[in-house]
């Protein structure tokens, strides 16, 4: 199971408001309905509602069951979803959404479906922000001042301050007012968290005894009924077994194939391997509270001592790109002019010498009698030998450069407490997953230092702070791009992280599935368009 380390902030190109014609019930695009899609997940979802869930498995399920006010199309542009159109005030602080009138909530058993109205939007916002609701969304939507209903199908959202690409942030999933048992706040105990109803293309039918999540096509879906009858998420406890399950047609799709299983699937004509660019990257993060790491030269030395390309080639079959800076590659903010620091052990030693270190008797560099020995904390993921390989190779490279690393694997929860709460680490290994493009303000701004905040390393640089604030306040896209390029260059020089790489993700699925488009982060955004030819439905 992949846990979300979450900056999941949307910021997309500016989209214009336009209307969208209403669909009739069947899609009427000539493609056949029917068939079942079994897909595998590594682990089980904790909850199935969009508010309390915080891992990727639930995220993928909520993408099938719910809708936001706006959505994102294949070209990464904002399109109407529950809102059919909208208006923004001149100062960019007030957004008025005009909602579709033909949307119905999934019916509960024995009940008639209820219509979706403005009340549900207000309700969703309020429940999300309630102090007793525990949700990762709260931090992301603190920029909203209020959400008001001005008519049954009109909602006005007022922001605390204008922000760039605010529209994209309104893709949060709307839940029904009559959903949760407790109308005040949502906890994981609420029945709604386990048998949610939404407006999306699929309705949750049941969660079986062995943890399979069964979803059936919503006949009243406002974009037209999805083609495939049933989606079933099957939990697996072992990734090797998962790959075998695909080979034996026990499942039709693996959302994310482990790199070591790629050759196997590649050689098999029954399956399609579809790459998709996840907006994420891996890194080693430094705790600059440690005086040894406060020196930029030491951090640079570590980076150049590590052969990132070799690791990428040997451990991931070269399926990815080494990166140089803090933005998700592929986003407009990424500065391609900044090149990754090249691997050079000599240079690493030179940098350390410059910083005042001398080799000790045991080959480990020392300064004022203090050894350059650091702890590296890594979360345990039972089967992720890729993570093990990377951190152990890292340790090995650094040994050659005279830096001693003690690797400590910890259970996920204990690791999070060490890194984000106690700040009891020197180096940590993790990946950031961006939900779209880039907003790195929470990673490196000095105001983000503190309990459970994302600047866990305590990195503080007035220049960076200034640029981050400037970038947030600038509404002009070009200007903002320039600022971010500069930010990228500075952070590449400063190396608060050793930025590693972004990996190409592969999904594997049976050829019978057609027209498969994959959203890089939410995965199933376009699943209502997928279909299985009648002859292969079985």
């Amino acid at each position: 199971m992949k846990r979300i380390l979450g900056i999941t902030v949307l910021s997309l190109g500016v989209a214009m408001a336009w209307c969208f014609p209403a669909h009739a019930a069947p899609k009427g695009d000539g493609r056949p309905d029917g068939g079942v899609l079994n897909y595998s997940e590594y682990g089980r979802p904790a909850t199935l509602d969009p508010i309390t869930s915080n891992e990727t498995i639930s995220l993928r399920i909520t993408e099938l069951v719910f809708n936001g006010l706006v959505g994102i199309d294949e070209k990464q542009e904002i399109v109407p979803e529950l809102a059919e159109r909208w208006e923004a005030s001149k100062d960019g602080r007030v957004f008025t959404f005009f909602l579709r009138k033909d949307v119905k909530w999934h019916p509960r058993e024995g009940e008639a479906p209820r219509p979706f109205t403005a009340d549900d939007v207000v309700f969703t916002y309020n429940i999300m922000m309630h102090p007793k609701t525990i949700t990762p969304l709260k931090v992301r939507y603190e920029f909203i001042e209020k959400v008001e209903k001005t008519g049954d199908y009109t909602v006005v959202i007022t922001l605390k301050r204008p922000i760039l690409n605010a529209l994209a942030k309104f893709s949060f999933k709307i839940i029904p007012k009559h959903g949760p048992a407790n109308p005040q706040y949502l906890t994981r105990e609420d029945r709604f968290a386990h048998s949610p109803i939404g407006t999306g293309p699929y309705m949750l039918q049941t969660v079986t005894g062995d943890g399979e999540v069964v979803m059936v096509a919503n006949p009243d879906y406002f974009k037209g009924r999805a083609h495939i009858d049933k989606f079933i998420a099957r939990p697996f406890a072992d990734q090797n077994i998962m790959a075998q399950a695909l080979m034996f047609n026990a499942i039709d799709m693996i959302v994310l194939v482990n790199p070591r299983n790629l050759p196997e699937v590649q050689g098999d004509k029954r399956f399609v391997l579809q790459p998709y660019n996840a907006l994420s990257y891996s890194f080693f993060g430094y705790n600059v509270r440690n005086p040894l790491l406060a020196d930029r030269r030491v951090r640079q030395a570590i980076t150049v001592a590590v052969n990132r390309q070799e690791m990428l080639d040997s451990f991931f079959n070269g399926q990815g790109t080494v990166i140089s800076g803090p933005f998700a590659p592929g986003s407009w903010a990424y500065n391609l002019d900044v090149k990754p620091l090249p691997f050079n052990t000599e240079r690493a030693r030179a940098l350390l010498t410059e910083a005042g270190f001398r080799p000790g008797a045991d080959g480990i560099m020392e300064k004022d009698g203090k050894k350059l020995a650091l702890s590296l904390k890594v979360p345990i993921e039972k089967e992720s030998e890729a993570v093990k390989r990377v951190v152990l190779a890292f340790q090995n490279y650094l040994k050659n450069a005279g830096i001693a690393i003690t690797v400590e694997f910890k259970e996920w929860q204990a690791w999070k407490e060490d890194v984000f709460l106690e700040h009891n680490f020197d180096i940590m290994f993790a990946s950031w997953v961006f939900d779209d493009s880039a907003d790195i303000s929470s990673l490196f701004h000095s105001a983000e230092i503190g309990d459970w905040k994302n600047n866990f390393g305590g990195y503080s640089n007035p220049e960076v702070d200034g640029l981050i604030v400037e970038s947030k306040l600038t509404l002009d896209h070009e200007k903002r791009r320039t600022i971010n390029r500069k930010l990228h260059a500075i952070l590449a020089e400063e190396q608060p992280y050793t930025f590693l790489w972004t990996l190409t993700n592969y999904s594997a699925y049976h050829r019978k599935l057609r027209r498969v488009q994959i959203h890089p982060y939410k995965f199933f955004s376009f699943a209502d368009e997928w279909f299985i030819p009648a002859s292969e439905q079985k």
Binding site: R260, E310, K382
Partner: protein, 297 residues
């Protein structure tokens, strides 16, 4: 109350027929194999402790991943990071050796104390200790260990304390049984009649003269348990962590390549586990048959 104990103990109601069966020539083979395993384990432990290894166990050769046995320079092949398997197998003994000894010490000392209290003092002690034994026996060991891991942390020494404590009831039962047997033969009464002080009777006459074989046997079986627990936990991801090698985490890491047909990286440590656990178990059972069997003749 009649209690089931793990090994055929010295409770002493066996007839001659079963005695004859029990001390057969096979027991000598068991013990010989067991002693061989112990010798290899201890020697390897010392090699590892002093760092006399055929190869640097941490040195990686990223170009030579999962090499087969008999690759030049790596007689037993390499692992998923191109590290020498032979060196890591030897070093892997460190992962359970001292923790295992800790577990054994706890169960032997704790078990003896409880056993003596129950058997020698008797009365309320016996009732309470029986209760305590049954209480500990109620938990599946792995579940109890997972509980401790969730509450504290995945540290092998915490785990081994649990293994040690859960190993106490068996020993306590055996010793209590032995004391009951000795009482039956008026052995203890005789010792008291001779005016020997209680601690001499307990330490010398009960523990040393009558229970030492039993304790050695239990300690041997305890080591097998410790290895089993360490490897199982490492398989579950809660045991000894990389880069420190342990046989369990080696099997687990190698298992990732098993289904693709690359058996060796997980099979090598699995065979080491098999051979070692078998050795300790056979040694324990063989000794039990030989020592405990002979004594009563």
């Amino acid at each position: 109350m009649r209690r089931y104990v793990q090994t055929p103990g010295p409770i002493g109601q066996f007839s001659e027929l079963s005695l004859r069966q029990r001390a057969g020539p096979l027991d000598l083979v068991y013990v010989a194999y067991g002693l061989l395993v112990v010798a290899v384990v201890v020697a390897s432990y010392l090699l590892g402790a002093f760092g006399w290894l055929p190869h640097d166990p941490q040195a990686m050769d990223i170009g030579l991943i999962n090499a087969a046995p008999f690759t030049s320079g790596h007689p037993l092949g390499t692992d998923f990071l191109g590290r020498d398997l032979q060196a890591r197998l030897i070093l892997g003994i460190q992962a359970y050796f001292l923790p295992g000894l800790l577990a054994i010490t706890i169960s032997v000392v704790g078990g003896s104390v409880l056993g003596i209290l129950a058997g020698y003092r008797g009365g309320w002690f016996d009732t309470i200790i029986t209760y305590f034994d049954n209480l500990l026996d109620s938990f599946p060991r792995l579940v109890l260990i997972l509980l401790v891991i969730a509450a504290f942390k995945a540290d092998i020494y915490y785990v081994m304390v649990v293994v040690g404590i859960t190993g106490m009831p068996v020993i306590a039962n055996l010793i209590a049984g032995k004391i009951a047997f000795l009482r039956q033969k008026s052995f203890i009464e005789a010792a008291h009649a001779l005016g020997l002080p209680a601690h001499t009777v307990i330490l010398k006459h009960i523990l040393w003269l009558n229970c030492r074989a039993l304790l050695v046997i239990q300690a041997t079986l305890g080591m097998a348990e410790a290895i089993l627990v360490e490897t199982s936990l490492s398989y579950l991801g809660f045991g000894v962590q990389e880069p420190t090698p342990s046989w369990g985490n080696m099997v687990q890491a190698g298992a990732n390549y098993f289904l693709q047909g690359n058996f060796w990286p997980s099979t090598a440590p699995a065979l080491a586990i098999l051979a070692t656990i078998l050795g300790f178990q056979l040694l324990g059972d063989g000794l039990n048959n030989l020592l405990e069997g002979k004594r009563r003749k």
